[in-house]
């Protein structure tokens, strides 16, 4: 058993294993990217004991992909050229993940993605590419189903023109039309501050719901301005909305009218108690609330650690190869994370990712944790 091995085999010389992260640490996407790194960092600090006991010191090697494919690929090559790196966590942008993961694949280095929901990531079927988040095609569907159940008739869809936001929005739209709801508009915008012009058709369409495919900083401002202009319907969004800063930005009027709901793959505290501890630890360590994908990054890192541990054990305490670690990731069964329980399917998607629809209950950012789960779904990724 693990306990036995940890007492008997503290190797005389500890070997160093490294785990890489890649996310934008600089530039305007660093808000999210830095917290991906932090989530992983915290997981490593909290859970490196098992490997240490086996005689392996685990180090984090954080890389900055600058949200730029060229930098991502160059870093990827640097990562794969370091034999001590056995597992990786990243990226934020699908546009960076896709070309970079070609390198991981060539080198047999396993990566666990905390945030890339683009279907293409796993559709290539690489052994080395896994993710613990749901796919856009599922999350969009969850949202649309929910909206339908709530009796929404007309929906205006907005997205942020990123692979993530537009991805979710496209699937939401597809499903919504299938369910017979009217999609009154489908518009993308890179605007971050002034939504006046976009609000003209939104208000004129008199839709029951506005769905925003994207992240909370943009959504918060949009929702705030929409309410200021008198929009009274419901707002909805995907897991990119999951931040207390949303209500801080959007202000109390967010809850007026139809209020605000969001779908998420990250379990709320009531379902996954680990989440609450994570948030508390995070605040203690970094003096800030974790951003979206930070908890997922925490889980991704834990999966890496666990897989390496399993691989080491399977090899009788010796340093495993990258392929062995990659296989070990796929071999994990019902890994208990704070954002779900994970088992990977043949292409690296989590089987039966859990999806929640959550309603925002309070305009006080401090009470973000008290948002109510109003729907829980467990959905398998579409089979290929």
């Amino acid at each position: 058993g693990p306990a036995a091995s940890s007492t008997e085999a503290p190797a005389a010389t500890t070997q160093t294993i490294k785990i890489a992260t890649q996310s934008p640490l600089s530039g305007d996407q660093s808000v999210l990217g830095v917290d991906i790194k932090r989530g992983a960092e915290m997981a490593l600090e909290q859970n490196n004991a098992a490997l240490l006991a086996l005689g392996f010191k685990v180090e984090l090697t954080p890389f900055d992909d600058q949200a730029n494919p060229d930098t991502g690929v160059a870093n990827a090559k640097q990562i794969v050229s370091d034999p001590a790196i056995l597992c990786g966590v990243g990226h934020l942008n699908s546009g960076v993940m896709i070309p970079s993961s070609e390198e991981y694949h060539n080198a047999g280095l396993v990566f666990v993605s905390p945030g890339n929901t683009n279907p293409k990531i796993t559709d290539r079927g690489y052994l080395e590419v896994n993710r613990i988040v749901g796919r856009d095609d599922v999350q969009g569907v969850v949202g649309a189903d929910f909206a339908n159940k709530q009796g929404m008739k007309s929906i205006f869809i907005v997205h942020d023109k990123t692979a993530y936001g537009q991805g979710v929005a496209e699937f939401f739209k597809q499903e919504a039309e299938k369910l017979g709801m009217t999609v009154t508009g489908f518009e993308g915008t890179e605007e971050k501050a002034n939504f006046d012009s976009l609000l003209t058709p939104i208000l004129a369409s008199n839709s029951d719901m506005v769905f925003f495919g994207g992240l909370y900083p943009q959504a918060g401002v949009l929702f705030k301005q929409a309410r200021e202009k008198g929009y009274a319907g419901t707002f909805m969004g995907p897991d990119g909305m999951d931040s207390s800063a949303l209500v801080d930005i959007a202000g109390p009027t967010l809850l007026d009218g139809g209020g605000m709901v969001y779908s998420t793959v990250a379990g709320p505290a009531s379902v996954y108690p680990g989440t609450a501890k994570f948030v508390a630890d995070f605040k203690a360590k970094y003096n800030a609330d974790p951003q979206p994908f930070s908890a997922q990054s925490f889980d991704s890192m834990n999966i890496c650690l666990k897989a390496i541990e399993e691989a080491v054990k399977a090899k009788g305490g010796a340093l495993p190869t990258r392929t062995e670690v990659a296989n070990a990731v796929r071999a994990l069964k019902d890994f208990p994370g704070i954002t779900g329980t994970f088992t990977f399917n043949a292409i690296g998607d989590p089987t039966f990712a859990s999806y929640f629809v959550i309603k925002v209950n309070s305009a006080d950012p401090a009470k973000w944790g008290e948002n109510a789960v109003i729907e829980t779904l467990s959905i398998a990724p579409p089979s290929k």
Binding site: S26, P69, T71, V73, A74, Q78, S81, P99, K173, Q174
Partner: protein
């Protein structure tokens, strides 16, 4: 006593007779052996590639320079590169950006037109092959993300070679199309219009997924095909270099070498074209326009035509490089063509020395190495320190306690910005100033 003159004498002595030959060879040897023996040391790599500078700067005969350069670029680099593909990637990116900088240099350095949207032409090339070299043609009816993945490819991968040439033409035409209306504008107006144009191209790439899905929007197009790599090439590479490299090289890595060499080829072509043009009536006309438009036109130089020529030439190189990039990455997405990229290339040109071909190449190399290797390496090093038990000696400060907010990895722009400012203050004419400009600066610095 140390004196400046003595030191300069000493330097001059080093640069005569056989000494420079010895110095160059020693530098290359040390660099190569060091990189070979510790294939992951950044310092070793910087020492190694700086041997190109020694080779360029020291005074040796042309044939020696050429053959040493060729061996370095065609043999030593690929061999060391496949031992650590990160280096190959850096060399590849240096080549790509050097090619882009050389193209932009025609526009800025020679004709004096400030173009802030240069990557637009790069995007044109990349999307051209991205569209024709992938399944995108058959994905037109589907919204991004929801197309089936088993669509056929429109063209075979070997059309890649043809598309390099097509891209040259298409990018040049795009340059002319943009240039026609705007080239009458004064310098800074041109700057902002080209900036706008760069944004327009990026926004189009991001948005032309509706009503017809031509670019697949923000998701980008993948997979983009590469030309076929015959097995014998892979085997040949392994047979030939296997002994030195120490492991068998996979097809993917031979592709890396291939694209690296292709980029080199483009650079050599550009250098030839640019220096020959510069040394003809066209180059003289560009300089004349840069100096005084009114006088130039009164001397019979057709202004718009010459400016268009500069614009189109610059654009065409970017177009060719775009095709190369799309194939090497097998992926194109709008993120590669942001305004920041344009600024990056501009920085390389000016940092290296506007109008100076070797300068611009050095500028591209410096920025790329700085960005991908030195700054990242520095950050990693500090991050390692923070995870170790190391202590700063005298003040007895444990690295562990360094606030996580101070993580240097997050502040690359700060470092980069500071480097830019300092460079401009202390070396405003660039790393290797253009020969002509050097005199200009020397004469002006009293004013």
């Amino acid at each position: 006593m140390f004196s400046k003159e003595k030191f300069q004498d000493f330097l001059a002595k080093l640069n005569t007779g056989y000494t420079p030959y010895v110095l160059i060879l020693v530098h290359i040897m040390i660099g190569a052996i060091w990189v070979y023996s510790s294939p992951r040391s950044n310092v070793a790599f910087v020492v190694f590639i700086s041997s190109l500078l020694t080779l360029y700067g020291l005074n040796t005969n042309k044939i020696f320079k050429l053959s040493a350069g060729l061996i370095l670029a065609l043999v030593v680099m690929p061999v060391l590169g496949v031992r650590n593909i990160f280096y190959l990637e850096i060399m590849f990116q240096i080549s790509v950006f050097a090619a882009l900088s050389l193209g932009l240099n025609i526009v800025i350095g020679f004709a004096g037109l400030l173009d802030l949207g240069y990557v637009a032409f790069y995007a044109v090339g990349a999307y051209l092959w991205g569209f024709f070299g992938s399944q995108q043609f058959y994905a037109i009816p589907y919204a991004p993300g929801i197309q089936p993945s088993d669509l056929p490819f429109l063209l075979p991968g070997d059309m890649f070679y043809l598309f390099i040439f097509i891209a040259i033409i298409v990018a040049a035409l795009t340059g002319i199309l943009l240039g026609l209306p705007v080239l009458r504008l004064r310098g800074d107006y041109l700057a902002i219009v080209t900036l706008g144009f760069g944004e327009v191209i990026r926004v189009l790439a991001n948005n032309l997924d509706k009503p017809w899905n031509l670019t697949n929007g923000p998701q980008g197009i993948t997979p983009v095909q590469r030309p076929t790599m015959p097995q014998f090439a892979v085997d040949g590479f392994n047979n030939f270099f296997g002994g030195i490299i120490g492991h068998t090289v996979s097809k993917a890595d031979v592709y890396n070498v291939f694209f690296y060499l292709l980029a080199l080829l483009v650079i050599v072509t550009i250098i030839q074209v640019v220096s020959r043009l510069n040394d003809s009536k066209i180059g003289r006309a560009w300089t004349a326009i840069r100096e005084d438009e009114t006088a130039a036109i009164a001397m019979g130089i057709p202004l718009v035509q010459m400016k268009l020529a500069a614009f189109a030439t610059g654009a065409s190189f970017a177009g060719a490089m775009g095709v190369l990039m799309a194939a090497s990455r097998t992926f194109v997405s709008p993120e590669s063509f942001s305004f920041m990229q344009s600024i990056g290339v501009l920085t390389m040109v000016i940092l290296g020395g506007t109008g100076s071909i070797p300068g611009v190449i050095l500028g591209a190399a410096t920025v790329t190495v700085l960005n991908l290797q030195i700054l990242q390496g520095f950050s990693l090093y500090l991050s390692q320190l923070r995870q170790s038990d190391a202590v700063i000696p005298i003040i007895n400060f444990a690295w562990k306690n360094l606030s996580t907010q101070l993580d240097p990895a997050k502040y690359q722009r700060l470092l980069f910005g500071a480097i830019l400012i300092l460079m401009m203050i202390f070396r405003p004419a660039g790393l290797i100033p253009a020969a002509r400009r050097q005199r200009e600066l020397a004469a002006d610095d009293e004013e």
